[in-house]
């Protein structure tokens, strides 16, 4: 109980700090960086749900974010729907498509799943680029913001609240019976299915939830930057999300969170020297995957003398 109380206290301090200090201490620029980091926290954590916790490497995560963004964006531009309604709808659309894709390819697993999601992601990007009557293709779709008067602080709080809710949802999920099943499937699929777990159903559920979150994050992002382009559902974005989860530590809860903040903040520093941050992240991710496949969290864990058994929780 002591340990749990300590964790809760630290969490409260951190989140309390995040709620109070940034808008007052940070410049508009760094506030923007924080908001983007929170976007990636949602993306990396939800990708980690399927990749880290159920072992499915999906390359369609950025695509689902794009679906959420474009769905909400198109509804607001062409049908005058308020983004406050549009974003949840976008998330639902992503969830539905996630369910469909999941259902189609979960049975295959492994390489086939990855290739299907890759194909799906590219098909989506091509359709978005070409159907410029609806999406304005590469020219970008300008969409309204969420607040009548633009205020970075308002966006920051919105992203913070949603991110925290998403993380709580993911945490409860992983620690539930369902989550236990996820990890059982990850660790030993044959054993899991022979103990009665419907592995296919589990994975589809995880896939759907993760797509819904990606769609939500995408919608929020779109209405924050107020411009949606095919860059959102691109493999380049997918790589960033993957790198964040990998570097932070797949299969750990805090890993993607740390990865998201770390990479986003670092990229701002690196950008001063030119657009090398992607190369740099790639090299770091490569090194980590090769030598420390469980990411920075595992490395930190080693230093604090923790033992890791399979996939851990915090």
């Amino acid at each position: 109980m002591e340990k749990q109380k300590l964790s809760v206290l630290v969490l409260a301090v951190v989140f309390g700090g995040m709620a109070l200090f940034p808008p007052f201490l940070l410049s508009q620029y760094w506030l923007h960086v924080m908001i983007i980091s929170l976007f990636y926290v949602m993306m990396a954590s939800s990708w980690n749900l399927i990749a880290g916790y159920t072992g499915q490497v999906s390359f369609a995560h950025a695509a689902f974010a794009g679906i959420g963004a474009y769905a909400s964006g198109i509804l607001s531009v062409f049908f005058g729907l308020s983004p406050w309604l549009g974003i949840p709808i976008g998330s639902a659309v992503s969830a539905l498509l996630g369910l469909a894709v999941g259902y189609l390819c979960i049975r295959m697993g492994g390489i086939y799943l990855s290739l299907t999601t890759l194909g799906f992601s590219e098909i989506l990007r091509i359709i978005i680029t070409n159907e410029d009557n609806w999406t304005r293709g590469t020219m970008g779709l300008q969409v309204p913001g969420l607040f009548a008067e633009y205020s970075k602080t308002s966006y920051y709080y919105l992203f913070l609240v949603v991110a925290i809710l998403v993380l709580i949802l993911l945490y409860r999920l992983i620690h539930s019976d369902l989550g236990l099943s996820f990890r059982a499937v990850l660790n030993d699929e044959t054993a899991a299915s022979s103990s009665g777990i419907n592995t296919v159903r589990i994975r589809i559920i995880a896939f759907t939830i993760s797509s819904a979150i990606a769609g939500l994050a995408g919608g929020l992002y779109g209405h924050y930057v107020m411009l949606i382009s095919p860059d959102v559902p691109s493999l380049g974005q997918m790589f960033l999300v993957l790198a964040m989860a990998v570097i932070g530590g797949m299969g750990s809860f805090a890993g993607p969170i740390i990865g998201a903040f770390l990479l986003e903040i670092l990229s701002e520093y690196i950008r001063i020297y030119g657009e090398y941050h992607v190369l740099f992240y790639g090299l770091v991710a490569l090194t980590i995957t090769r030598f420390a496949p469980d990411g920075l969290m595992a490395v930190a864990g080693k230093f604090s003398g923790k033992k890791r058994v399979g996939v851990e929780t915090l």
Binding site: S7, T138, M139, D231, V232
Partner: protein, 392 residues
């Protein structure tokens, strides 16, 4: 919990970074340093270097040295908008200039409007950029309507072309300039056909075969990027050119280093838009630029975008100097009164809102043809250094 502490530490690190303003006047530049038009980024870099030299030699801006921050847009509107915003929030620039992609520019002007920061466009041609009427936005460069109405359309008419095929990429610029061209051709009753292509395509045989069936005598290629090289080379392979002439509606791709390597002999008799030629100097400032470029880089300037960015930086500096401050309202007021000699003429911005000519200055353009690997200006007649050669 070690992990949470890491989070907190990172957080404090971010918080601790406060940017202190340096004591120089900062001008921001936006342009594609990476992506399919990265060559333009290089041209911008050259122009920026020359402009900084020229300005600081004269004592800088407001008596302080001028500092340029060049932010990469990668040719993607999202990155363009966020880069633009960074120049304002992170680097605290007084004014921003540049851009060579219409789609990026259309995104950036929204940010300029939101933050009320003056923005001078150099080479994004879409009419809406100035037509939207944002008071913070100026353009000292070509606009689609200007390029088509005053140059491309009359060129087609005066040289007796009878059948036109328009090939346009899927970008704001491509769509805009194609539409304006169609409007003009309709008015002049010259038959035409329009085809859409992807900017990053590499294989155009299918499209070219369709075009050949039309039997055009001129192709207006509105493709800004290396796609143009492949298109031209393949048009030659299938025998479309040089019987039909090809006009590069943007211009720079026909001047990039790799042009001749990529197109080989297909480059002969190709036409392209430009605003720069060694024998055509619109103003004394143009000669000064040419000499300075040769001295600094050891070769002749080829990509006219290096000159465009040089121009707009000078315009910006001039406005700030006349405004005697970095206050945004003062700068805009000063810009509206601009009467400055740059390399392509005298900059004066239009002041009547309601059309693309608001806050717009249209520089003179040239239609150039490659003849024996030499640039020959073939239009307009007043600036021509030779005559148009048609293919067989």
């Amino acid at each position: 919990m070690k992990r949470m502490l890491i989070l907190v530490a990172l957080f404090l690190l971010a918080v601790a970074t406060v940017s202190y303003g340096a004591d120089a006047v900062k001008i921001g530049v936006v342009g594609p340093r990476t992506g399919p038009a990265a060559a333009t980024g290089k041209a911008f870099e050259e122009g920026i270097a020359l402009a900084v030299d020229a300005l600081n030699a004269k004592g800088g801006v407001l008596g302080k040295p001028v500092e340029i921050v060049f932010e990469d847009t990668a040719g993607v509107p999202e990155k363009a908008a966020s880069g633009f915003e960074k120049l304002i929030t992170r680097d605290k620039v007084a004014i921003i200039v540049g851009e060579s992609h219409s789609s990026s520019a259309l995104a950036e002007i929204e940010v300029a409007n939101r933050y009320k920061v003056p923005f001078i466009i150099s080479e994004a041609w879409h009419d809406d950029i100035t037509k939207k009427g944002y008071k913070w936005v100026f353009r000292a460069g070509p606009a689609n309507s200007g390029v088509v109405d005053f140059y491309i359309a009359p060129f087609v008419k005066d040289n007796g072309f009878k059948k036109v095929v328009i090939v346009r990429e899927n970008s704001d610029w491509g769509v805009g300039i194609a539409e304006r061209t169609e409007m003009n051709l309709k008015r002049m009753q010259i038959p035409y056909n329009t085809l859409k292509v992807e900017r990053e395509s590499k294989d155009f045989y299918t499209e070219l075969t369709k075009i050949k069936a039309d039997n055009p005598d001129i192709l207006l290629a509105y493709i800004y990027g290396t796609g143009l090289h492949f298109f031209l080379a393949q048009a030659n392979e299938v025998g479309l050119t040089p019987k039909a002439l090809l006009l590069d509606g943007a211009g720079p791709p026909s001047l990039w280093d790799t042009f001749w390597k990529n197109v080989g002999n297909a480059g002969e008799l190709e036409l392209f838009m430009s605003s720069m030629h060694e024998k055509v100097h619109f103003t004394p400032a143009s000669k000064i630029f040419w000499e300075a470029y040769k001295k600094k880089f050891g070769k002749d300037p080829t990509d006219y975008k290096s000159r465009s960015i040089y121009n707009v930086i000078l315009v910006a500096a001039d406005a700030v100097n006349r405004a005697k401050s970095t206050n945004n309202e003062a700068i805009v007021a000063a810009l509206e009164k601009t009467n400055l000699e740059v390399t392509t003429g005298h900059v004066k911005f239009g002041l009547k809102p309601g059309s693309y000519e608001y806050h717009q200055w249209m520089p003179p353009m040239l239609v150039v043809q490659w003849q024996d690997k030499k640039q020959i200006v073939v239009y307009p007649k007043e600036a021509a250094t030779g005559s148009l050669k048609k293919g067989k």
